[in-house]
């Protein structure tokens, strides 16, 4: 659709700009302010320049949290994307099964994030949880399963929770992509004698490229912000085993109340996100063009 060229359209955007800017730009200026000063109390602040940034960039706990975050987000993509595509392929195409599948898939997505944590505590605890009690009664593990005791178990539990929570999103998106493929494509493939695998590789997968790009980028970005679920489930522990970036930042800001370093960290974190956002935006524009051509 050809759009009209008119700069007065800004008047329509302005109210939305103001309400978002109020929540985004003013607070961000405060963060910049904090990051350059050492604040002792109300009205007592000393300008310290890039001191906090130097401190945070050399902070090995930040490095650990960042590395942990990359590992986590990477694994999330590796598991959720193929699994989501498989589920979408297995879903029924017509009949009552479609609605039933969609509703079941959507269920984990509308649960408050910290309640997700609660569900998984109740589900995995070694004393009352179905999974915890179940796996320990099989007696397969050397150390009995307890997600609060062993870092590896905590990690696996958080990852399992994340996969449980968000794979339905990937499946929903993939399903929407599959539904958009015209039936004639499949008929043509059948006439050409294409196998199921060929159909997937040369028809379904290329047609899903758009939605899969969105799925990859959404899961990458959102798993980078993960807070409430591990906060409720493990609190970042045991030790720092499941302390991802947001958890570390909140710990620094509210429990230790180190305003300067926390603010410097916030800005570094924000810049990383901004970089990914830019890549995301470019990819989205690119995908849009590909479909029109």
């Amino acid at each position: 659709m050809e759009k009209w060229q008119n700069n007065r359209a800004w008047f329509l955007v302005l109210p939305a700009f103001i309400v978002v800017a109020f929540s985004a730009i003013i607070p961000l200026m405060t963060v910049v302010n904090y990051s350059l000063q050492d604040i002792f109390g109300p009205g007592q602040a000393v300008y310290v320049g890039a001191e906090w940034f130097k401190e945070m960039l050399g902070n090995h706990r930040l490095h650990d949290a960042l590395w942990r975050q990359f590992q986590f987000s990477g694994l999330v993509l590796l598991i959720e994307i193929p699994l989501g595509v498989l589920i979408a392929l297995a879903m029924p195409k017509r009949g009552w099964g479609v609605s039933a599948s969609l509703l079941t898939l959507a269920l984990p997505l509308v649960i408050p994030w910290n309640v997700i944590g609660t569900i998984w505590i109740i589900f995995t605890r070694p004393d009352i949880g179905l999974f915890g009690v179940g796996i320990n009664s099989l007696d397969l593990l050397e150390v009995p399963f307890d997600h609060t005791a062993k870092p590896l178990y905590a990690w696996i539990t958080v990852l399992a929770m994340e996969v449980w929570h968000w794979t339905p999103l990937v499946a929903l998106l993939s399903y929407a992509g599959l539904r958009a493929i015209p039936e004639v494509y499949y008929q043509a493939a059948k006439i050409d004698g294409a196998s199921g695998w060929d159909t997937f590789l040369y028809i379904q997968l290329p047609k899903m490229r758009g939605v899969l790009t969105i799925a990859v980028l959404l899961r990458w970005m959102d798993s980078f912000l993960i807070f409430a679920e591990p906060f409720a489930l493990t609190g970042g522990g045991p030790g720092n085993a499941t302390t991802f970036l947001s958890l570390y930042l909140v710990k620094l800001a509210t429990m230790q109340f180190d305003l300067g370093p926390a603010a410097a960290f916030s800005l570094i974190y924000f810049l990383i996100i901004l970089l990914f956002c830019f890549i995301f935006y470019q990819a989205l524009l690119h995908v849009g063009k590909g479909e029109k051509a």
Binding site: E2, K3, P15, I26, T30, Y34, I111, T118, A228, S246
Partner: protein, 267 residues
């Protein structure tokens, strides 16, 4: 034969998806003493005591009402501000439109943890701490951009000729927008309202930080219970079950638009 295998695999997956939720339902129907002393796959001695407590204790049921209030406020604010902006993005080219769209996207992606400290200061300064409006405004950070994205998708599906005809017929912009255009995309408005409702309902960090007692929502009440006193698992489970209800009730209406909403309106 192949189709059957697929269906079986899908059923197993759905079973695993439901299992943790079933387990919470199971816990919510038992007393704490029963939960801690017996391990049972099915509740034998069903009790609604936990739910009863939530519906009679003001600190619990008010928490649900608080959550509902700011979610409703946020939905109204987000829609009111996003509708004109989405129209501008779907119909006009203007200076800096691409940059503006990108900036809005960054706000949807920004880590809430980054905004934690400044929000405390900002909302204390303007005397909004511990009010529903504070949380509603804070959630606009991601809900206004999201609404613009979803609405823009729906609006671009309406042919521009309708606008042109209306303007030729002498409609002014406000009258055209409210009486003709919005009714045309009412499905889109409904879907957007659902996603504003949902993302505001599930968010924890802002809701927890900006409220103390007066506006404390259920998500915050639950985290405080978990860290403080000895845990009453049955009560926790019942509170958790009740937070799922509003979302579960409305997904039926938007089931065909779920992908669109979760994908920022890009599907």
């Amino acid at each position: 034969m192949r189709i059957q295998k697929r269906t079986i695999a899908l059923c197993i997956y759905f079973g695993l998806l439901i299992l943790p939720i079933y387990w919470m339902l199971n816990m919510s129907l038992r007393t704490n003493a029963d939960i801690l002393s017996n391990f049972a796959l099915f509740p034998t001695d069903i009790t609604f005591k936990n739910y009863f407590k939530i519906f009679t204790d003001p600190t619990w049921y008010m928490a649900y009402i608080n959550g509902m209030i700011y979610v409703a406020m946020n939905t109204v604010i987000s829609l009111a501000f996003a509708l004109p902006a989405a129209y501008a993005f779907s119909r006009y080219k203007f200076l800096g439109d691409g940059q503006m769209f990108f900036w809005l996207l960054t706000n949807r992606m920004a880590p809430p943890a980054v905004f934690l400290l400044p929000y405390l200061q900002l909302y204390s300064t303007i005397n909004l701490m511990d009010t529903h409006l504070a949380v509603a405004l804070a959630h606009c950070l991601f809900n206004v951009p999201l609404s613009i994205w979803i609405l823009e998708g729906f609006m671009s599906g309406v042919p521009k000729e309708i606008d042109e005809t209306a303007f030729i017929d002498g409609y002014g912009f406000p009258r055209f927008f409210i009486t003709i255009f919005i009714p045309l995309i009412r499905a889109g408005v409904g879907v957007t309202a659902f996603f504003c409702f949902m993302f505001s309902w599930v968010e924890l960090l802002f809701a927890r930080t900006l409220t103390i007692t007066e506006a404390k929502p259920i998500v915050a009440t639950m985290t405080r219970t978990i860290s403080a006193t000895g845990l009453d698992w049955g009560l926790m489970a019942a509170a958790g079950m009740l937070t799922i209800v509003p979302g579960a009730l409305v997904i039926w209406f938007v089931r065909n638009h779920l992908a669109k909403g979760f994908a920022l309106g890009r599907v």
